[in-house]
């Protein structure tokens, strides 16, 4: 096993203190570097909870989580921020773009936080917007863009710092089927280009099928490997 993948051991996450509901009830999994994996499960099964832990946005109640060589469960909040900045890129269902900033400025944010100079920022952000097919829309604000275009901006932003791990939480959940299909297409292409480890969270088995060979099933806070019959 390489040290650069994702390694989870007995991950527990419960909300509302000790007696609260367990959203994750002992998750164990190993994802190797460069692997593309889909997590499938019903709504409320704990998929987003798991992804937030992987994204460094939240901490497990107990258990160990090592991603790209970092032990996330023992990082300080400053180190966590650093991890989010340069190791992981996240695409959300609701796009999460800053409304006051244009497409270009939104993609620029991670570069600013990384301390890149203006020249480099403009060049890289433009290049990524080009890659997601939005070179003609770079000075538009989110409210001037369609849902699909907004998600493309979000994808560019997630990838602009060239993260080792890319996480997507229902990236097509807010889009109609045609647009969703285009976004899936784009994600597939980009994942082929970058050698990043890719984790897709979705309740849509078709999309999971199209993007990822390996599929994991989330059920009541536990993760199991999907055998081929399960979706047949």
């Amino acid at each position: 096993m390489t040290g650069c993948g994702i390694q989870a051991e007995a991950l527990y996450k419960s909300y509302g203190g000790a007696g609260g509901v367990a959203a994750l009830a002992g998750v164990n999994c190993v994802i190797e570097t460069g692997q593309r994996v889909a997590v499938i499960g019903k709504s409320g099964s704990g998929k987003s909870t798991l992804l937030n832990l992987f994204a460094g946005l939240d901490r497990p109640t107990s258990g160990q989580l090592t991603i790209a060589g970092r032990e996330l469960h023992s990082l300080s909040s400053k180190e966590m921020a650093r991890y989010r900045l340069d190791t992981v890129g996240v695409v959300f269902q609701a796009f999460q773009l800053i409304p006051q900033r244009t497409a270009l400025q939104n993609v620029e944010v991670p570069l600013i936080l990384a301390g890149k100079d203006r020249q480099t920022r403009l060049q890289q952000a433009t290049q990524w917007l080009d890659k997601v097919g939005l070179s003609h829309r770079i000075h538009h604000h989110p409210y001037e863009l369609s849902g699909g275009e907004q998600q493309r901006v979000a994808i560019a932003r997630a990838l602009v710092n060239q993260p080792k791990v890319v996480l997507a939480d229902e990236p097509t959940g807010n889009l109609d089927t045609t647009t969703a299909s285009d976004i899936v297409q784009l994600l597939t292409e980009l994942c082929n280009q970058t050698q990043a480890t890719f984790l897709l969270v979705t309740h849509d088995v078709d999309i999971a099928d199209r993007l990822c060979k390996r599929k994991l099933i989330m059920r009541d806070g536990r993760l199991t490997e999907a055998d081929d019959d399960s979706h047949a």
């Binding site: 939240d58 989010r84 900045l85 959300f92 710092n161």
Partner: protein, 531 residues
């Protein structure tokens, strides 16, 4: 990690995105800063204007000097000991009275008058423009007429008045001239005549006054007759510090006087005193003192003057000492010469010291008093004036501080609301790698920019307002005081501007700390869910 420059530009970008709120915040800061600035500028300007105004009034720059006859230093302990039972306040008052009594009883011999030497020393002090010894020599004046004219008119009228000296450089004196000119620089034979003396002399109408110019004025004054007290003083000085009883025990008063007159040349009396004694007792014997011959002088009339009290500012200082005016006005040098000619102890009773500026008044007074004299001046009035300006300035500064404080609460509030509104944004920033401290700095920077911008706008506004306001206030003050104000009423110097910038930025940063702290503590997942 993130460059400081980018934090500033992000902060500026955020303020720019919310123009209306930024504008409202700025308004509060600007008003506070303007009041603060105008007060500071106004105080130094008004103080300066008052100084210039007072400096233009000669009376405010003058110090009346009187010899201080009382003993210096503290009396011995036993003199001021009050053992009787009484309240502390009353004991203090009694002790004060005892001290005064001791000083009066222990007057220093020799320190009775202001000597020509002391006058010279006073003139040499820094910042002293002139020292005019107080002179008022009683005299009788008449107008000198050509022979025929006097034959026609018979007896010319004679008027009793006094000879007084003036400072030739004084603008106060110059302002009093109503006909003719002020005394010239070489004026040993010239005189200014008071209009009332002229009136009494028969020159009453305006054309008649003009006729007086250039005419000769005959002045007649008596050498001062030595009073018995003066003679006794001379005796005491000659025979040592003896009391009347002691003198009486040694020899009779008349014997002493007789001996003094006989051995006049070998005494240590001044030449004037000797001369006076010789005139009184011409045969070297005691008897009825002889009648002294009056001294006569004549002067050319150079101008007619009126009383000098109607200067509006001089009136302000009327409470402080001013030497008495005689109606026969000559230069201070001539007046001193006449005074010394008839005075038996070669000294003056008083003098007026004119200083270059009211700001040097205190320093000069200190030095003058160090030479053993008492002084009277407008110093207290000036100090009170300065204090009143300062006091009212503090009140206005307090109001400005209150405005700034209110503005800062407003800023804090709007920044807090802004944090609530921008919660998703902060969540997003955190999710892509912003640290707590970066968000904290971002918000504080926004506050600092508001403060800086507000202060700069305030400075520009104040400069403009001062420019407009100065014209208006100046017009008002000048019409009220009838005087020119040469200075600017609002004086902006570097440090109040820097201070205002610092205060403004400080207040705004302070106001942004709580909102900034809240922003930095946000949980990114919760924050993002608020879209």
């Amino acid at each position: 990690m993130i460059r400081t420059r980018d934090i500033w530009s992000m902060a500026a970008h955020n303020l720019w995105q919310r123009k209306l709120r930024t504008l409202l915040n700025l308004l509060g800061i600007v008003v506070g800063c303007v009041v603060l600035l105008m007060t500071a500028a106004g105080v130094s300007g008004v103080k300066n204007a008052i100084r210039i105004l007072f400096d233009s009034a000669e009376a405010a720059r003058q110090i009346g000097v009187l010899p201080d006859r009382n003993a210096k230093g503290d009396p011995p302990k036993d003199v001021t000991e009050v053992t009787a039972e009484m309240s502390e306040e009353r004991r203090e008052r009694i002790v004060f009275q005892l001290e005064q009594k001791w000083r009066a009883e222990n007057r220093q011999p020799g320190a009775w008058e202001i000597t020509p030497q002391q006058i010279k020393e006073l003139s040499a002090l820094p910042h002293v423009l002139s020292v005019v010894p107080g002179v008022n020599v009683p005299c009788v004046v008449s107008i000198g007429l050509e022979e025929e004219a006097s034959a026609e008119q018979g007896e010319t009228p004679k008027v009793s008045n006094g000879i007084t000296g003036i400072d030739l450089g004084s603008s106060l004196s110059a302002g009093r001239v109503i006909a003719g000119d002020m005394l010239g620089s070489d004026s040993s034979n010239e005189v200014l005549l008071h209009e009332f003396v002229a009136y009494q002399l028969g020159y009453q109408s305006d054309p008649q006054l003009k006729q007086l110019l250039g005419k000769q004025l005959h002045v007649e004054y008596q050498p001062r007759r030595g009073s018995l007290a003066n003679i006794f003083n001379m005796l005491v000085e000659e025979w040592g510090q003896l009391s009347v009883q002691e003198l009486g025990q040694q020899m009779s008063f008349m014997d002493a006087l007789h001996q003094l007159i006989n051995e006049l040349d070998s005494t240590s009396l001044t030449s004037n005193q000797k001369q006076l004694l010789r005139q009184l007792f011409p045969k070297g014997e005691l008897g009825t003192p002889a009648q002294l011959q009056p001294i006569q002088r004549s002067f050319r009339i150079r101008g007619i003057v009126r009383d000098g009290n109607d200067d509006s500012l001089a009136r302000l200082f009327r409470g402080h000492y001013q030497g008495g005016y005689g109606g026969i006005i000559v230069s201070s040098d001539v007046a001193s010469e006449i005074h010394l000619q008839i005075s038996e102890n070669q000294s003056f009773h008083e003098a007026v010291v004119t200083v270059d500026s009211t700001s040097n008044l205190a320093r000069v007074i200190e030095q003058v008093e160090a030479s053993g004299t008492r002084t009277f001046s407008a110093l207290r009035i000036l100090e009170n004036m300065d204090r009143h300006v300062d006091e009212s300035a503090w009140i206005v500064l307090g109001i400005a501080a209150a405005i700034l404080f209110t503005a800062s609460i407003g800023i804090s509030n709007t920044l807090l609301v802004s944090v609530l509104e921008r919660t998703p944004e902060f969540g997003i920033l955190k999710s892509v790698g912003a640290t707590n401290s970066m968000l904290l700095r971002l918000m504080v920077c926004e506050g600092a920019i508001l403060g800086l911008l507000g202060a700069v706008i305030a400075i520009v506004t104040s400069l403009a307002a001062a420019w407009i306001g100065h014209g208006m206030i100046r017009q008002y003050v000048e019409s009220r005081l009838n005087t020119d104000i040469a200075s600017t009423l609002f004086q902006f110097s570097m440090w109040p501007m820097l201070a205002v910038i610092c205060v403004s930025v400080f207040v705004c940063v302070l106001a942004s700390i709580l909102p900034a702290w809240r922003a930095s503590r946000l949980d990114p997942i919760v924050a993002m869910r608020r879209t």
